[in-house]
Symmetry: C2
Subunit: 346 residues, 2 copies
């Protein structure tokens, strides 16, 4: 319609307008709006020539066949969406540095963009080490053997953080075997993870093998985290290398804190997605040493965060937990009843 045709109309002084035709969805209008006439159109139709406003059908009534009654003035531009209102030519549709979200794909499709340049998934090679470690498919364990629990869990976390998990296999406690495997992996990996042997000697061997790969070498060996103290951070030939503690629980805790953000970063993600967090009250006191960050697994029950305790190596602490609470470095512990952020496992 033309907005001017509605100026001054009211319940007491209705305006009457002749319906000159209709606009069909998805087609160019073949009818125009002139003084005293309107054109009917569906939501999302194209504005016909001569029109400068749209009135909702709910605000009109049929006075006689072919003529509508209007009792409410309409402003120019009302009911109209400009073709460039969602995005003007030249505008950034989606920023770089974050994963494409559902609505980003929708916006790209709307703009006719069916191909976009994205960062390659970083290839992360993960090694397990230790003479005692055997593949998960081993039906019968000999005394002293354990199945490789870390490799499949790590692969899931690597995938979740946008990486491509490359299985490196199980390397025996042998100086040359690990060094050779690492050298081979350097050429085909964007990042390397080693779940180190759990004994002191095996840890030293891992560090020695990493150090021999060349500069810059080991950045640090030992983090003020519990669990996760014997973590190794290194770099060789531009490839970041993380040496994880030997026990699966510690390895997974550390990889969530340090490995997943690194995979995202190597994958070009500068705006990492947020973790799912709920607030809860601590069910009991948590002790912690100052200067050390503690990761404490908890279950959620009636708004309470109930710590899951047990020996540090137990995977069941992780499988029965709903998430974890961080006791920061500067705290000497947290009192029962403290409101804490629980980062949820998903």
């Amino acid at each position: 319609m033309r907005a001017a045709d509605t100026y001054g109309v009211s319940d007491g002084l209705p305006g009457y307008l002749e319906v000159a035709g209709a606009v069909r969805m998805g087609a160019e209008p073949d009818v125009a709006v002139g003084p005293g006439t309107v054109v009917s159109m569906p939501t999302g139709g194209v504005l016909p020539p001569g029109a400068d406003a749209v009135i909702m059908v709910e605000y009109t009534q049929e006075a006689m066949p072919g003529t509508i009654e209007v009792t409410r003035p309409v402003a120019p531009g009302e009911g109209i969406v400009r073709a460039d209102e969602d995005a003007v030519a030249g505008a950034e549709l989606v920023p770089a540095g974050r994963p494409l979200r559902a609505q980003d794909l929708g916006m790209l499709a709307a703009a006719g963009v069916t191909r976009v340049g994205v960062h390659a998934r970083p290839r992360v090679t993960a090694f397990s080490t230790g003479d005692e470690v055997v593949p998960p498919g081993t039906a019968q364990l000999r005394p002293g053997q354990v199945r490789d629990a870390t490799a499949s869990a790590l692969a899931a976390l690597i995938t979740e953080s946008g990486g491509e998990a490359a299985p490196g296999g199980i390397i025996p406690d042998d100086r040359c075997a690990l060094e050779n495997a690492l050298r081979t992996a350097l050429g085909s990996s964007d990042m390397i993870v080693i779940s180190a042997g759990s004994s002191v000697g095996a840890r030293d061997e891992t560090a020695a093998a990493v150090a021999r790969l060349g500069p810059p070498g080991i950045w640090c060996h030992g983090l003020a985290i519990r669990p996760g103290k014997p973590t190794l951070l290194a770099e060789a030939a531009g490839v970041p290398i993380i040496g994880l503690p030997g026990n699966p629980r510690s390895a997974l805790v550390v990889f969530r804190l340090i490995g997943m953000p690194l995979v995202r970063r190597v994958g070009g993600c500068t705006k990492p997605p947020a973790e799912p967090v709920v607030r809860a009250r601590l069910e009991r006191d948590l002790a912690s040493a100052t200067g050390r960050l503690d990761v404490v697994q908890v279950r959620l029950r009636d708004g309470l965060a109930v710590p899951v305790f047990g020996l540090s190596a137990l995977l069941s602490i992780l499988t029965t937990a709903d998430g974890y609470v961080i006791v920061p470095e500067e705290a000497t512990g947290l009192d029962a009843g403290t409101e804490v952020d629980v980062t949820l496992y998903r």
Copy 2:
């Protein structure tokens, strides 16, 4: 070691024990512990016969070659992890009804479980409707045409919620075409989604086509949500059907609230994963009508949730937002400064 050999030892009265041999990782011990002797072992090694406790090497010192000095008593069982301490035979390793998490895969691997029965991904067929809708790859739009923005965004949300997205294509505004497409899809889908034409007439046609599919038919048509009012919930031949509003933004908002939980539920997930949420203070007043749930997109800036406003149909509201705030049915609005939960888009 035998704990009894350390009873009564102290700094002033050290005990001396002979090292009878060593345990190797991953191998059965070939040496036993007798009175007055110890066996050296790495962390994670198998306890040799005769031993009932382990003392950390850090608490011992070499008195002379082959003999260690102990100044601290050790309790029976100290330093020992029982073989069934992480999971006893017959225990549930991972509960049903939730996605397998990284640590669950680790636990299964540790137990030698390399195959598990899981729920099939529900197959969700998504149709777009409307004479004006053309495929995203259409380079040049004719007047009145829009590219299908909803289909690719919906496919991403279906995948994110554990479903398998089956593209149903674009169905013209034709009574028989939609009904036929729906009938065909019923046989091969666990759930059907229709992003309905945006005009009143097209919405009615969608409802009519769904109603003709048979009992139980339409559960409800219209939800007290904004955006998303014209949502249709139905069921035919045991397949849940959601009719979404025609404009992409409303369709995506409703699908997050209603469609994604339904995909998870159809996929056997009774314990849905938590959404990522952060708390923030509302930057300005939000008005809302009582009895209607409002979904308001926000950006996060310095701990403030800043509403993103614009015409309801604009996808850019979703692409520029960091997440959304829900104004519940019973509220007449939220005041500036209110602490709100922002569910983050990821």
